[in-house]
Symmetry: C2
Subunit: 306 residues, 2 copies
């Protein structure tokens, strides 16, 4: 195979109770990428549409992720990478992750799959390091593996795939202000109270249990974050109002997607997701900030070959 075209999905990381360890993959929004082998032993970002991003492969998350893969493989093969961005950088739904995960997925396919998906997650994390100064996996893992991903441990690196309750829907609203992951991380306190941590891990543990038992109400009760959300939500316009609107319409839970400014609501079933999306949309339309809004099923397979 000389050329591959893929869909690189958006992802929602953290999911309130799982800061830096939990994420899920979306179906309805993502980038398209076309990757071709070249004969000049170089990585080139040959085209980027939709966003103004660096084409220097050392400054582009897709480029550095591919370099990491090729270095471990000891390969000199060159690739030309086209990126057609639909996911806005700084939106909080894994824009950099889609590019870095998509690039290593495509390159691995073109090389006849020398690496397993979990290795691709590791390579894609180098892209996250470039984007945010932190090699987190809670976007790149679900982008590559699909469904819900849990990062058990970073050293040694281990990621688990969790079951996906069939009726789960995600509504994502992106207020078009930009918050860089790097900035959004810098306001987080590096020490937290043990009491808050206990509350958080009780909720995360219950959330995991609920995924196995299809307990939608428990999913809702567990979607709590008393550590990061109180700090980061200050950066998000109308956060508390949006939370209220979503919960009033019957969302299971509501929170910040990744490092924001996007917010997400989990809902049970298509109809409820439509209601919540409509209500959030109606509310935000009265404000003076442009926004995107999406409703999506959980993408169980991750990156797709087109």
């Amino acid at each position: 195979m000389e050329k591959i075209e893929i869909f690189a999905p958006a992802t929602v990381a953290n999911l309130s109770c799982g800061f830096d360890v939990l994420g899920c993959c979306l179906d309805s929004i993502g980038d398209t990428m076309i990757v071709r082998k070249n004969q000049i032993n170089e990585i080139r970002i040959t085209k980027i549409t939709g966003q103004d991003l660096p084409t220097d492969p050392l400054q582009n998350v897709a480029g550095v992720a591919v370099y990491a893969l090729l270095k471990e493989l000891g390969s000199q093969q060159g690739f030309d990478i086209e990126i057609h961005k639909k996911i806005k950088p700084g939106s909080g739904i894994g824009s950099s992750a889609a590019s870095s995960a998509g690039a290593v997925f495509a390159v691995n396919k073109l090389l006849d799959e020398p690496f397993k998906p979990v290795d691709l997650v590791r390579f894609a994390m180098t892209g996250e390091m470039l984007a945010s100064g932190n090699a987190h996996a809670d976007n790149v893992a679900p982008a590559i593996l699909g469904g819900f991903s849990l990062v058990r441990s970073y050293e040694p690196f281990e990621v688990l795939s969790l079951p996906v309750p069939g009726d789960l829907r995600v509504v994502v609203l992106h207020p078009q202000i930009e918050i860089k992951t790097r900035d959004s991380r810098s306001i987080i306190k590096q020490n937290i109270s043990l009491k808050s941590a206990i509350n958080q891990w009780g909720n995360l543990a219950a959330f995991i249990s609920a995924l196995y038992t299809n307990d939608y109400e428990l999913i809702g009760r567990s979607l709590k974050d008393e550590i990061i959300e109180p700090v980061r939500s200050i950066l998000i316009p109308y956060f508390d109002d949006l939370n209220g609107v979503a919960m009033d319409k019957g969302a299971l839970g509501f929170g910040i997607s990744g490092s924001g400014p996007s917010v997400f609501a989990l809902c049970k079933g298509e109809e409820k997701a439509r209601d919540v999306k409509q209500a959030l949309s109606n509310f935000f339309s009265t404000k003076d900030i442009a926004f995107d809004i999406h409703s999506s099923t959980i993408n169980r397979t991750g990156i797709k070959i087109l």
Copy 2:
């Protein structure tokens, strides 16, 4: 029914990754209690064997737990409570929890079960408050509910029962030094690093997943505690040596039971548990500290009527 005799089991709380939220119930060790209705509208601790504990019901965890139940019920019924202790106080395997959980379980039965098990957990927690100054539920919940219990939230109070992988065995070694839960709690730092907390909740989440998927190796990898264990293990003689002995013999994981000084090893299968028990026993026999050691299946039903 005028009289009931019960087995009130020992429990292992925290299980390394689940400080204050996780616990499991044991089969092979526990107290016996006999509770009778009396006609004098008084709670009396009429007999305690095996240990020197207060018979004033306001100073005894069984007494205060029963008071809490009767108060919520608005009942004047009196009860005589006999406690035959096999679980040593201060051992770290839920001695106070067995007494308070056993007492409310027995009283609830004698009153024709006005309360659900989860309510009994709440009442038993008042006993824990008396014993340790902290109304934790990670011993009383598994004592009453059996199996693995997860406390999702204390306010509002919610506890979940988790699945029990069939081959799981627990080896518990109790070095006979006493550490009071109250003292053992006082050395814990009330602020922790966010990084440690993230590692901890990644492991706890993975442990929960492993219980659902019967993944014994993952149970082992998740049994980590970088927050509490480094501080508390200092109080436990030969902790690192015991850890090494258990892991060398093929234990899945090793840690502090509750607030110590008991330590536990989780093992897959009867034979492995026997090997680990023997090796720990051999090691500790060379030391100058008396000890008890038990190997147990997980008790799936909790308190039993005899």
